[in-house]
Subunit: 419 residues, 2 copies
């Protein structure tokens, strides 16, 4: 069986499984999630052995230690995956929710009801925990899932998926509710991306290059996730004490994630006071500042001269671009030109400035007087998150269980014909 | 200026216009819609002259009369376009609606608010009324619109867009809120489909071939519309009098539209009684029936033998495919294999059969004891419709004004940082 046949065959089996999942009750799905958690814990020794092999091969290939750390599993991480599945079991079932409904003037009853997508494809990098997390969210929302992880995590993912399938079948649901995409080559991924009609939506999770390639090559509808060139704008009317705390939190608390700040913009009216303070605080936190000329003039010799690329860079590291802007409107214009549509923050005591910024900035999340780090499904109270959408179609911002569903109109009459 | 430069330049001007539209008040947008209607009526002589030229050229090119009829405008059709714009002015503004909101445990205020997409592209065929209808819906929802109509309607569309732009500017909104995509070649459309980042969503309106080519070539997110291979399933427990009326309504009332029935499925238990009745009624209405062997055995010599393609054909004409199925489950299986996900109807007095059909059939609309013809934005009470989505992402079924928007999370704190 060649790659294309194997991928399409897996997708067809996922579609068949999806028809069972679509009509499964919440009780059955929750039982499956608990059984998956139990099976994963029971399979922990086999999963750890497979993972040790992946880590050894990665080390032999010269993979950086930071990447091996993300790949590596231990008992704690497996327990966390199992607990994640149990947590999802505790969340409300989005399927069947009546989104809107009415009785039309002619007596027809109209209801718009949440239904699963059907088959969801997830393309992700070398984090084996995504294998269990994504499967749990897909199953709870009634979807079959096709998983394409990094080839460096293949043994780990195979062991995890084997355990999850063992758990699922104990509840009478089909094992093919979760499958790894067969084949190791880039061609196999391409076949997944072209399986329109069999796969309902693809969600790439990972770096900008992965997401760009999926968006460009896929004929299956894609939900873009996760690239964040997030700005913190310190307005002329900002509380500078609060601004300093928020800036440091947004940049330093977890620099490797998409909702960390990557650019600081400071209004000229407060630049003489705030830039030196920001430099001292960022410097103490180990952050390298890439500043424009005015920021460098006020910030001193520690400021590295920014080049054109800095304004568009998602560093994901202890670096930040920084500029002084003459006005609120210039901050908005800068963000329009360089933002990635993820999270943009304004720090101000001015109601008018906040209102203008919120209305004019086009992003998944616009934050007033708080850290960019709050754009997160957990922080928003969604209970779980499959990713953060930076596109405008279907879902925007953190995606929880409802964002993994579509809707269906149910129209009920008693012999109605259209006049 | 070559095609690519011209298309991208138009898209950039649309983006600039979109930033003004996004913050325009409902009052301003409604005034613009009324001004557009006034300008269109004032320009009627010029529009009719341009349209007469289009119709002459179409006739000279041997275009079928039915297509020329769709292309042709008269005073009544122009008045209807103007009234359509005024009707949209009367609809609620979707922008600014708070979709959900809460105060998080840490005191952050979270609101999810409807915002415009930004720039919407519409690709459509030779119906000049779409030019005004789509522009009205886009403007009311705060979007700039790039219109790509059929080249056969170019003079008509140019005249209509000129009038609409004249109306818009009287209210202070930018004329570039509505533009025709420059260039006549297929290459020009391709540049529109690759303008990711400048165009937020593309909506193709037209036949299956047009929609397929947009879906395959576009890197801009697409909302698929309008292909309907709709089934009417007459269950063992159907009221056969009602079934006959619904079948004829679904097939005959307006056969050229996407919510017309294209396949009839009859449960074997009622086939001996219903098939001859259906044949008589369909025959009297001038419908050609393409039946399977069992349908032909019961339906008599007027039944044309169906081939494999008939089950997948959207006739859009007075033709219907017809089969006898042994069970409800077989009807569901048939629809799963051949339906286009538009509208599927069951006719039954059985609550259990209706419930099973509604749960198991995966389509934008599932109809119980009523005609498929009700799947329509106007019938659903949406006031207006940009098309009927047959995809699962973003919007499914008739799309009104809210479906032309995205959302944005607004997060408000007073110095919140993430612990």
């Amino acid at each position: 069986m060649n790659d294309e046949t194997a991928v399409l065959d897996a997708a067809r089996r996922a579609r068949v499984a999806a028809t069972d999942l679509a009509v499964a009750s919440r009780a059955t799905k929750d039982a499956a999630l608990q059984a998956m958690a139990d099976a994963l814990l029971a399979a922990a020794p086999a999963v750890l052995e497979a993972n040790a092999g992946d880590c050894e091969r990665a080390a032999a290939n010269g993979t950086p230690e930071a990447m091996i750390d993300r790949l590596r599993l231990d008992d704690g991480r497996i327990a966390a995956m199992a607990q994640g599945l149990r947590d999802v079991a505790g969340l409300p079932d989005p399927v069947g929710e009546v989104v809107r409904g009415s009785t039309l003037p002619n007596g027809l009853e109209l209801r718009q009801v949440r239904v699963p997508f059907g088959v969801v494809g997830i393309i992700y990098e070398a984090r084996p925990n995504v294998t269990a997390d994504a499967t749990g969210l897909a199953l709870k929302s009634g979807n079959a899932v096709l998983l394409r992880g990094s080839s460096s995590a293949k043994a780990s993912n195979t062991a995890i998926v084997g355990a999850l399938r063992d758990g699922i079948v104990t509840t009478g649901l089909p094992a093919d509710a979760v499958q790894l995409v067969p084949g190791d080559t880039h061609e196999a991924v391409k076949h997944l991306m072209r399986a329109r009609g069999l796969v309902d939506v693809l969600i790439p999770r990972g770096g900008a290059a992965l997401i760009k390639s999926v968006v460009e090559e896929s004929t299956v509808p894609v939900i873009e996730t996760g690239v964040g060139n997030c700005h913190v704008y310190v307005d002329a009317d900002a509380d500078l004490d609060a601004a300093e705390k928020i800036l440091i939190n947004a940049k330093v608390q977890r620099p490797s994630v998409c909702n960390a700040a990557e650019t600081l913009l400071v209004h000229a009216d407060v630049a003489a006071e705030f830039v030196p303070r920001a430099m001292a605080a960022l410097g103490a936190a180990g952050v390298t500042v890439h500043g424009d000329a005015e920021f460098a003039r006020l910030g001193g010799s520690a400021v590295v001269a920014a080049n054109d690329d800095d304004w568009d860079t998602e560093y994901l590291s202890l670096d930040i671009a920084a500029a002084v802007v003459p006005s609120l409107e210039d901050a908005i214009t800068h963000i329009r030109a360089h933002g990635s549509g993820h999270t943009e923050a304004i720090l101000t005591r001015s109601q008018a400035a906040a209102r203008r910024f919120v209305a004019a900035v086009d992003a998944a999340a616009v934050v007033v007087n708080a850290s960019t780090r709050f754009t997160d499904g957990g922080e928003f109270g969604f209970g779980a998150e499959i990713g953060i959408s930076t596109q405008k179609l279907h879902a925007r911002g953190p995606m929880g269980l409802p964002e993994l569903t579509s809707t269906k109109y149910v129209v009920t009459g008693d012999g109605h014909v259209r006049p």
